[in-house]
Symmetry: C2
Subunit: 405 residues, 2 copies
């Protein structure tokens, strides 16, 4: 390679490295790794495996020829991840176990003395001819193989399949090590978020114990909120926000004494006033945070009991003056309350629940929120099914039962 | 540059890129960026600025000559971050505002028509001669300048100061863009952790409202725990864990009814049994999480009332059978309870608190924990001072006051 070429390669590789390390969404990152590597080596197809214990999980597959044939855009081709055992018998497995790059001229002519062979099933099923393969280990900064990148059918200028050039191996290796670090970083980000959301759901659910609600209420209410938000066209990020901010909507109830929170009969006017203050107390618990998520949860805490016609509390806001998150969560919360049994009432039949919601259209609820909800009612019912209350809570799972004894 | 050289450069740059993107601790990362860049360009000194609004914050400074002269190792030289205004008058400011690399032959011979000049104050104070400078913008993947890397006094083989070679500019640029992405990633990690910890402290503090404790109790108890852990030689990571897991030690109290939790007089044996169950309830709220932090908090919830001699609850564990985190938090919790006013008692004088702790050495408390605490008593008292209870809680900050009305 000429000096000038090499310098271009450096710049190109550098750009790829930056693109990869800037992508924090794990799924999108893995897709990007395959497409950047394919672009860089000019090849027809590629796939990516992630190592998990003694398996390789097949995460991404891209194939230009098949995409052209089916008319389906690459990015829309979705595969369900499946796994293969981590053995030397597959090319990917051999790559992962040895940490070596494997550069194969013709997949159908692999010498029989080699440990690995090709499974021709994919080719047969799809009428495809896998010929040249470059199989590259994804080695992280600690020298651990965390996955395998497979590039298939390198192409020349005339779109003929050729062997992957030997001299590109080092550059692809460099690319793949950047990819490995990027994957580890995205996994870390995912892990940190997951831990945070886990904390929110646990502590929010724990706070609800006093209210005799179950942890499942929090799950359902959060999922309904996410469903409505999605239906209203919220971005993926905003959906994630509402899903994980909404569980904290009632934390202000921690400030309401048992004598009011758990009173069996009707509350007096004064008691109701105190009960209402769970919205303002919730928002003050959550106030003044730097975190976007916490800011959303503050909004939701203060506004989830406002009503579209201004008859709600605490601020009697009307219409779009009520934060959209509050309008969404209001419906999610009420739907769950109506459709679940509570200590003072059985679960209402779906028909009755829906007629109450329809009735509240434009008075209690934002009509657009109602529409988004009803448009996705089937999914809502699936959520209800998924997060059912346990038949009866026992022992440590139902700490408030202790009181009943 | 020769082809072979260039290939070596690629490999080197790639290694640096990977090292940078693998470092998630922001402070260590910034230090690493300067040392890797200095190593790569072979220069005597370097510094790093991070842009924050209209300022550049001076974050890292390394200087081999001064380090040798003072005998202080580079890594030990700590500077308090200070900021300079973001204007074209400083070299760093000019670099940040224009996004251009500036390569200066002699800092003392900058032509007067240039916007920027050198502040010789540093040189005068330290008897140093800043000559050649390469000032490089840290440009992130969105093209935004997020900081500036300044390299000072390039050296030849004989340690003579030379000008930074023009042809290294592109490679340094490549390095610095990797550095920029790495910084953004580390900032994201920091931000995600901060948001998580914020949630923990808020929700844990909210849970304590019922107990008439203040949010400050959680802060203090967590900080005492961190202080003891540090004193016992826990790793930085483990200290961070205990600081952020300990706030959740009492979440199980959410399962204790007001009538017991807030009972003014002595609890009956049966009531006490229920009260004790806050440890097991806490651990079940926190159980079965994938998150390391949550696992620690589960351990702490279940074990912070165990006593070293086996007379604690719920499992009457003895000595080192009690998880170390539980032993640490036990002391932190008791110290705070004794040294703070509670509704049923005033704050005890320090002398009395210390004598109670001394008395508990080996019976209630792990002697090593007591030692670590007493060795760091001054810091503990500073924490106490820092997170004082408000004189009187009013309005929304003290929701349970509502009940008293």
């Amino acid at each position: 390679m000429q000096t000038e070429d090499l310098q271009k390669q450096i710049i190109k590789l550098n750009k790829i490295g930056i693109a990869l390390t800037s992508e924090h969404d794990l799924d999108q990152l893995m897709f990007l790794i395959v497409s950047e590597a394919r672009d860089y080596t000019n090849c027809d197809a590629g796939s990516l495996y992630i190592r998990e214990d003694d398996n390789l999980i097949f995460m991404v597959s891209q194939n230009d020829t098949l995409a052209r044939r089916t008319g389906v855009d690459d990015e829309q081709v979705m595969f369900k991840p499946f796994s293969i055992p981590l053995t030397r018998e597959s090319v990917a497995g051999y790559t992962a176990l040895t940490g070596e790059i494997i550069n194969i001229e013709d997949a159908y002519l692999i010498p029989p003395e080699k440990d690995y062979k090709i499974n021709r099933e994919f080719d047969r099923r799809n009428n495809y001819r896998t010929k040249s393969i470059m199989s590259v280990p994804l080695i992280d900064n600690e020298g651990k193989v965390i996955g395998v990148l497979q590039l298939i059918n390198a192409l020349d200028d005339k779109q003929n399949v050729i062997t992957f050039p030997k001299e590109s191996e080092n550059l692809v290796k460099s690319l793949s090590s950047q990819a490995a670090v990027a994957i580890k970083n995205a996994q870390l980000t995912k892990c940190l978020k997951k831990a945070h959301y886990d904390t929110i759901f646990r502590l929010s659910a724990a706070a609800e114990y006093r209210d005799l609600d179950t942890a499942q209420h929090i799950r359902r209410m959060s999922s309904y909120s996410g469903l409505i938000a999605q239906g209203m066209g919220f971005s993926k990020y905003d959906v994630e926000m509402i899903v994980n901010a909404s569980p904290m909507h009632d934390v202000g109830k921690l400030g309401i004494p048992d004598s009011i929170l758990l009173k069996p009969g009707k509350l007096t006017a004064e008691e109701f006033k105190i009960m209402e203050s769970h919205t303002t107390m919730g928002s003050s618990i959550l106030a003044n945070s730097d975190s976007e998520l916490m800011k959303k949860s503050e909004l939701i805490a203060i506004s989830h009991h406002e009503k579209f016609d201004g008859s709600g509390y605490p601020n009697k806001l009307t219409g779009e003056d009520i934060p959209i998150e509050g309008r969404v969560c209001a419906l999610a919360d009420v739907f769950d309350a109506l459709s679940s049994p509570r200590c003072y009432k059985p679960a209402f039949p779906l028909e009755k629940v829906l007629s109450i919601i329809e009735e509240g259209r434009g008075t209690h609820f934002d009509p657009r929120v109602v529409d988004a909800f009803l448009d996705n009612l089937d999914d809502a019912l699936e959520i209800k099914e998924l997060y059912q209350d346990e038949e009866e809570m026992t022992g440590e799972e139902a700490p408030r039962d202790i009181k009943a004894n």
